[in-house]
């Protein structure tokens, strides 16, 4: 399943991380104050998450008075498409996260690529994912800029330039909740106009306005470094071609605070008139400092 270009991307990322961690380790307030696994993962749009859902967690191991930097790479390879996403994130004081991601969406049948850049900001409003009685709650915005808008235009997108998603996420780890195992859950509400996360533009003939969609994740930590779970992401359906909700089942390995790896099976439903798009999702996040 792992093709050579994927391996190459991963090697490049690892080399980048090793180099950067030398710089990082010389900074005094490097972010490593969180407990293992509580930085979560990085989702496809570059925000701290889940895999397809942004969570309330910030993608770094920083706590108060600390900063953290991370880099991620993700790939979803389904029947007719491949989505690669890579990017970096900075977080401060476990309070604010700034991230950048570049997505490359390959239409295998057309041998064409669509690129999208996403700059995102997230701020923690309330709570701590472990310690507070209620969930940790964060508010985020993802600004998306479509670099190749021709296909979006051809499919009838209202806007093929850029769009903004606004989301509110609540995430909680419940210690020992399931026969002694830790349970993690997340609910996200997102206001969006994006078609297929923006890769097919924003708005369309069916609907031009912002829509509220819900996304959720639930997982269990089988050990301090191994988690399994499911995710669901509701999608708008703005274009004349049907867009369906996304879902995945995942397994994540978090050996230490420097890196995590996720393997998932994703079902993206109908995408741009091609039905039942399913396949393997792989991602890794490396924590630089």
């Amino acid at each position: 399943m792992v093709r050579s270009h994927l391996t190459r991307q991963a090697v490049t990322l690892l080399a980048f991380l090793l180099g950067s961690s030398v710089i990082g380790s010389s900074l005094c307030m490097a972010g490593d104050g969180k407990l293992l696994a509580t930085a979560g993962l990085t989702q496809l749009e570059g925000s701290g998450g889940g895999g397809i859902v942004p969570w309330a967690t910030l993608s770094g191991y920083d706590t108060e008075d600390e900063t953290a930097a991370s880099a991620f790479f993700a790939e979803v390879d389904v029947d007719d498409y491949r989505l690669q996403s890579k990017g970096v994130a900075l977080s401060w004081n476990d309070r604010v996260e700034l991230s950048f991601a570049r997505q490359r969406f390959t239409l295998k049948t057309l041998s064409a690529d669509i690129h999208q850049n996403i700059v995102a900001l997230k701020t923690r409003l309330y709570g701590d994912v472990i310690y507070s009685r209620g969930p940790q709650v964060s508010l985020g915005i993802q600004h998306k800029k479509l670099l190749d808008g021709d296909i979006a235009k051809a499919l009838g997108a209202e806007n093929n330039q850029s769009g903004n998603d606004l989301y509110l996420a609540a995430t909680k780890v419940q210690l020992g909740a399931l026969s002694g195992y830790n349970l993690v859950w997340n609910i996200t509400a997102r206001a969006t106009q994006a078609n297929q996360t923006g890769l097919l533009g924003y708005g369309g003939e069916n609907n031009k306005n912002y829509q509220l969609v819900f996304e959720g994740s639930a997982g269990i930590l089988l050990s301090p470094s191994l988690a399994v779970g499911i995710e669901y992401r509701q999608k708008p359906d703005n274009l004349n071609i049907e867009e369906q909700d996304w879902q995945d089942v995942f397994i994540t390995y978090i050996p230490d605070k420097r890196v995590n790896f996720t393997l998932a099976y994703a079902d993206l439903g109908d995408v741009a008139a091609a039905g039942k798009q399913q396949g393997v999702y792989l991602s890794m996040t490396g924590y630089i400092w």
């Binding site: 701590d128 349970l183 639930a218």
Partner: protein, 140 residues
């Protein structure tokens, strides 16, 4: 949307199971009783004494008294036959300016101590769940 509701229902029912957890003294027994608590506490004190970041917070602590009160507290939290007679968490940590990372470091040392005492992962989680609400009183 139906599926989202389904997921929410699953999550909610999982949380429901959590609240049906067995009564407290059962947890004390499963943990291994006083013998296990003492063993874990000794490992914990050892881990603290070798940790450069945490040890300074204990520099003026009378270790024998700390050991006694800590064992008592863990025993009580696990539903065992003890009553905690020490100072409140707020008083005993007053003026120490403990940062979030220091608190988490101490949790990590406690996890190491539990590992060394061969306490299973599910039991570790259940003890941490009992102790987690104390963070509010311990941080300034």
């Amino acid at each position: 949307m139906v599926k989202v509701i389904l997921i929410l229902t699953i999550v909610a029912s999982l949380c429901g199971c959590a609240h049906q957890a067995k009564n407290n003294s059962d947890l004390y027994q499963k943990f291994g009783g006083m013998e296990k608590i003492e063993q874990m506490t000794d490992f914990f004190i050892e881990e603290i004494s070798f940790d450069n970041r945490i040890y300074p917070f204990f520099a003026e602590t009378k270790i024998e008294r700390f050991r006694e009160k800590f064992i008592e507290q863990i025993c009580a939290e696990l539903g065992g036959p003890c009553q905690y007679s020490g100072d409140s968490m707020k008083d005993s940590h007053a003026g120490m300016d403990i940062r979030e990372r220091d608190f988490n470091r101490l949790v990590e040392l406690l996890i190491v101590a539990m590992e060394r005492a061969n306490i299973s992962y599910p039991l570790q989680n259940q003890l941490l769940n009992k102790l987690a609400p104390m963070r509010e009183q311990i941080l300034p």
